[in-house]
Amino acid sequence: MAYKHIIAKFKDETVLLKALTILQEHKVNLVDIYGPFATHDILKKFTRESKLPYAAIIYGLISITAIFGLMYYTSVIDYPINYGGKPYFSFPPMVVIMFLVTILGTTILSVLTFHGRSMVFPGKPTQTINPDVTDDTFYLVVDQNYNPEEIKVWLKESGADEVFEKEL
């Protein structure tokens, strides 16, 4: 699953921002940005659509139907018991359980989806571009999509400290 990526190293986030603008003007496929701290302007420019919220809604609907079905089956069809004169099918006590199981099911399934999609799991060897990514440098990772040589030139012109290729 390792592809070659073009990686540019930056010491200054303003320079990175310039490079980002140039690459986005040329519609280059950006993969990721690594940095020591969150920068608002980068977050605003480099937005990525995630489908995870939609998956979460579907998981929530599945969980709520499943738990409602289970409670209805157990308390009405399979084993109806009269508790204090309440009807067999009474909604109020189900609400709390439905609420909690919806949250639980959505959370667990979303976490599994996220990890499955981004290939992160326990025991996976760590893949860092360079140890100093946790220190004070920014890294811009670009997909080698159509004209790698041109991308390298753009990155160098915009002021990247170093441009290299690496399998990630």
Partner: protein
């Protein structure tokens, strides 16, 4: 940037017309159905006191959390608190209508009703009036101190006044939270004098902030349409929308918790409160309360992008103003009056009170600089972005 608010002359005329409508509605009410009118006076007193307390609680929370984002809009919650003195007077006038609204205030009821006789040391007319005086004395004394320091901060640039405001905001948050929950138990819960709920005061106190933030949003949107507050941006609306979204969840939680425990326990003294509401004639209102205050805001606000659009906020906040009315209506009317009636008396009296409330608010707003001049966080608030 506009720094002072100059209200248009026609606006006060409009408020005066609203108050006159209210007076006409009250007079019609007293000539046709006094019990219903007194219940409506209590309803509207409580409605607008809730908004005032909620807004001032919002104001103090911004101080004790050292919030930077809200410095720009801080004068609005403070101005919304200007109804409190009027509310105090109007609440005190309830003295003349106590037996019409409260069962325990009727003379000689203690002879026939053992439970009310047992509660009589607390639930009697003189002590009830004394408590009203105590509540408002506490609210007003601290609220006026906060107002004074805000004024002083505008006049002299000194960090000392901000620190003083911060100190009194801590005092106010305790006083308003504790005594407003007592007050709502006193004024609303004792209508059904056999029934009690330990959650009741807390629920009403917390939800006052829900409606208080909705009122703040409406004021900001109105002032923006008049050309003020050009600096209020997406991020401010986002923060305000989060207040609404979170409180809608709190509403759903507290509404359901109060209901579920009484439903489950099934004790006759306690289910008597929910019988007319859950099974009887009041059922549509009971569900309308839940839908307007919880389901609709929750579903709409769940999308972050949709929730912070000014038009959506306008719709939801307006809906919440209706929701608060329905919420108090369901809490007061079945016990105080009985049948579900809605007509000119209800609408007219609400309009009258709204005229008073808005008049007091805009008057307070025009006395101050619209944006706090020397607030230490003002610069942060002007450039607020998430």
């Amino acid at each position: 940037m506009e720094t002072t608010y100059t209200p248009k002359k026609n606006m006060y005329l409009l408020f005066a017309v609203l108050v006159i409508i209210g007076i006409i509605a009250t007079i019609t009410g007293f000539t046709t159905d006094t019990e219903r009118t007194w219940s409506n006076i209590l309803l509207n007193n409580y409605y607008f006191i809730t908004l005032a307390i909620g807004a001032t609680l919002f104001y103090s929370i911004q101080y004790i959390t050292n919030s930077g984002w809200s410095a720009l809009i801080q004068r609005i919650p403070m101005a919304l608190g200007a109804f409190l003195p009027i509310g105090a007077v109007l609440m005190f006038l309830m003295y003349f209508g106590l037996p019409q609204v409260y069962e325990w205030a009727q003379p000689e009821i203690t002879e026939t009703d053992k439970l009310i006789a047992h509660k009589e040391p607390f639930l009697n007319v003189p002590f009830f009036m004394i408590r009203i005086v105590i509540y408002f004395a506490l609210f007003l004394s601290v609220a006026l101190v906060l107002r004074k320091y805000a004024k002083l901060e505008d006049e002299n640039a000194d960090i000392k006044y901000h620190q003083k405001s911060r100190y009194y905001a801590q005092v106010y948050i305790f006083i308003a939270a504790i005594f407003f929950s007592f007050a709502s138990k006193d004024w609303i819960m004792t209508i059904d004098s056999h029934w009690y709920s330990t959650l009741f005061g807390f629920r009403n106190m917390v939800l006052s902030m829900y409606y208080g933030s909705a009122a703040i949003i409406l004021m900001i949107l109105f002032l923006r349409s008049q050309g003020y507050f050009a600096k209020v941006n997406d991020a401010h609306f986002h923060d305000l929308a989060r207040y609404i979204f979170r409180f809608s969840i709190v509403f759903g939680y507290l509404w359901f918790m109060q209901f579920l425990i009484l439903w489950y326990a099934n004790i006759p003294e306690l289910t008597v409160y929910y019988y007319p509401r859950f099974i009887g004639d009041w059922q549509p209102m009971f569900y309308a309360e839940l839908f307007i205050n919880f389901v609709i805001p929750f579903v709409v606000m769940i999308s972050d992008e949709l929730g912070k659009k000014p038009k959506v906020l306008l719709g939801i906040s307006t809906l919440l103003m209706i929701g608060l009315w329905i919420s108090i209506y369901v809490q007061i009317m079945p016990g105080a009056y009985g049948p579900m009636k809605f007509g000119f008396i209800e609408i007219g009296m609400w309009l009258g009170y709204a005229g008073l409330f808005l008049g007091a608010t805009f008057m307070a707003l025009s006395k101050f600089s619209l944006v706090p001049k020397n607030h230490p966080f003002l610069e942060e608030s002007l450039h607020h972005h998430i």
